[in-house]
């Protein structure tokens, strides 16, 4: 998620040639403080009112723990499915030409552009017992709506672009000589893909899948319509926060939110660090 920047010595700030440093710094800092940092104080203020035991009791409440299991489990399934599906889509979009390719490419951004609530009611309608997909799947014994499968489906829908759009540019930039070198050395399609192409895409694939996973953990609008929201069974953590809020239990909502927040940010950080290491190995440095 971070754009790479060039190493600089912090001490050696040359005289600034371009104008607007003060103005842009002022606007940026004001905005970041007021819009991003100040609201966080509300959360920590609320948490400060809780004792450690109370906090622990809230976040380990049986129903809440069940929601973690549902959320993480479904997000993991969605991420794994997306890794495979996203890789397939990116591969097809980069490597082949076929009629309708531009349309397929444009369609990849749909989940980002489509409001999550719209995706939510649409998926719920499609996969309910009398929906287009539900009618097909239920006789096969696959109940999607109001089960964790539906939750995973909604998560997968909203986060598939992360994988496609992270892998696609890396695959595009991959020099053709990699394929050719593997082929001249006698590799079959499958071996060549597994031993040469996949390792090349690995950092992007893991990053994209990781981002998709993080996004799925926090997703709300797309899921609640299809989930059925049965306590202990199909209730996601984001909904737990919402439920606590409707009960005016602000402390409870904050405690659970802090867990979600912490996990998301920690994962994001982990992805960034891991990616940095990998890039270092491929592009030089010692190790």
């Amino acid at each position: 998620m971070s754009s790479r920047s060039f190493a600089i010595g912090l001490g050696s700030t040359p005289k600034r040639v371009l104008p607007g440093f003060g103005l842009s710094l002022g606007i940026s800092l004001t905005f970041v403080s007021l819009m991003l940092l100040l609201p966080m104080t509300g959360l920590f203020g609320q948490l400060a009112g809780l004792s450690l035991a109370e906090y622990w009791a809230i976040i380990t409440n049986e129903r809440v723990v069940a929601s973690y299991v549902v959320t993480i489990g479904a997000a993991a399934v969605a991420a794994i499915v997306n890794a495979a599906f996203g890789l397939l889509l990116a591969w097809v979009l980069v490597r082949y030409t076929f009629p309708g390719k531009r349309l397929l490419d444009a369609l990849m951004d749909l989940p980002f552009a489509l409001p999550t609530a719209v995706a939510g009611i649409t998926l719920a309608t499609l996969y309910s017992s009398n929906g287009w997909m539900g009618q097909l799947l239920e006789p096969l014994g696959l109940q999607v709506a109001y089960t964790w499968v539906g939750i995973a489906l909604a998560m997968s829908f909203t986060s598939i672009p992360f994988v496609v759009r992270t892998v696609q540019p890396v695959l595009e930039d991959m020099p053709n000589e990699m394929d050719e070198a593997a082929l001249t050395l006698g590799a079959s399609d499958f071996t060549g893909f597994r031993r040469v192409i996949l390792p090349h895409l690995w950092p992007a694939l893991v990053t994209g899948t990781g981002l998709a996973f993080v996004r799925s953990l926090g997703e709300f609008g797309a899921i609640i319509f299809i989930a059925g929201n049965m306590p202990y069974e199909t209730e996601i953590t984001a909904l737990m926060i919402f439920v606590r809020l409707q009960e005016y239990d602000y402390a409870g909502a904050s405690a659970i939110a802090s867990v979600v927040l912490f996990v998301s940010l920690a994962l994001l950080l982990a992805i960034n660090i891991w990616q940095g290491r990998f890039i270092k190995r491929l592009h030089g440095g010692h190790g």
């Binding site: 754009s3 607007g20 397939l88 076929f98 999550t116 609530a117």
Partner: protein
């Protein structure tokens, strides 16, 4: 040219699989939205769209978007200018900070605003004393919408401006151009398409935000209901056609966003071929 996976059978199999899966997974929902919206004919659709509460929701949604865009634009441009044109301590941290809204669950985003500006929050209780209510009213919706959309413009601009470097602006400085002129005459022409795409994305997200808005809006029909909240209520009331009528309006905006993106990308690709 020989490449891995270029055999006819492999190619057909993979293209086929990708197209079928994408059609089922991505295209079918899109079709379903419009099919449901028009399920009982165009008259019912029209009646639902022009319904008083729907119109109020449309109005509020557009109002919020219109206010959000300039704020995000100013912030995005200022931040992109700052981090790509200057080196200063804390630059990396600032760049990381603006990714927070992407990583934070929208419900959590709504919650932190509610905690701060709600009646129980320290800032909220002070505001309440002065008879200013931000939460469960449009200002609250605006604030959380700005929160969730603020990275888009900056994220579009930063990689581009980093790649372009600051040589052109430096040349303009040596020619004696004043600051604002440099931005308007040198920088802006180079970044205008990325800027436009950033605005389009901001707009798409602003009109569609659900999780964060649902926490702070209070969802009062005709007053603090945005279009996504409105369609949720209709859906919960088993008014499927009504819900999908509203959904189809939002889907239309999403489609326009995709078209705009494809158009801008096509433009960029063409400019690369014929510089």
């Amino acid at each position: 040219m020989q490449r891995i996976g270029d055999g006819v059978a492999v190619r057909r199999l993979l293209i086929g699989a990708a197209v079928v899966l994408a059609a089922l997974f991505l295209l079918l929902p899109l079709v379903a939205i419009f099919a449901q919206a028009f399920a009982r004919g165009i008259d019912v659709f029209w009646a639902n769209v022009t319904n008083h509460y729907t119109l109020a929701a449309i109005q509020l949604t557009l109002f919020i978007a219109v206010l959000t865009i300039p704020v995000c634009l100013v912030f995005g441009v200022a931040l992109a200018w700052l981090v790509t044109r200057f080196r200063f301590p804390g630059r990396r941290i600032l760049q990381t900070l603006i990714d927070i809204p992407f990583a934070v669950s929208p419900v959590v985003a709504g919650l932190v605003y509610l905690l701060l500006y709600g009646r129980t929050g320290w800032l909220g209780s002070w505001l309440d004393g002065h008879d200013i209510q931000l939460m469960f009213a449009w200002p609250g919706i605006l604030l959380v919408t700005i929160f969730v959309t603020c990275p888009f413009v900056a994220r579009e601009l930063i990689p581009l401006m980093q790649a372009q470097g600051s040589r052109e602006e430096e040349a303009a400085v040596t020619l004696g151009a004043p600051g604002w002129t440099i931005f308007r005459r040198v920088t802006l022409p180079n970044i205008r398409w990325a800027l436009l795409y950033g605005v389009i994305l901001t707009n798409a997200r602003a009109v569609g935000e659900f999780g964060a808005v649902s926490v702070v809006s209070g969802a009062i029909r005709g007053q603090t209901n945005t279009l996504p909240l409105h369609l949720e209520q209709l859906y919960q009331d088993y008014n499927t056609v009504g819900a999908f009528a509203s959904a189809s309006l939002l889907a239309l905006i999403a489609l326009l966003t995709l078209v705009a993106k494809a158009g801008l990308e096509w433009r960029a690709a063409r400019r690369e071929v014929h510089p």
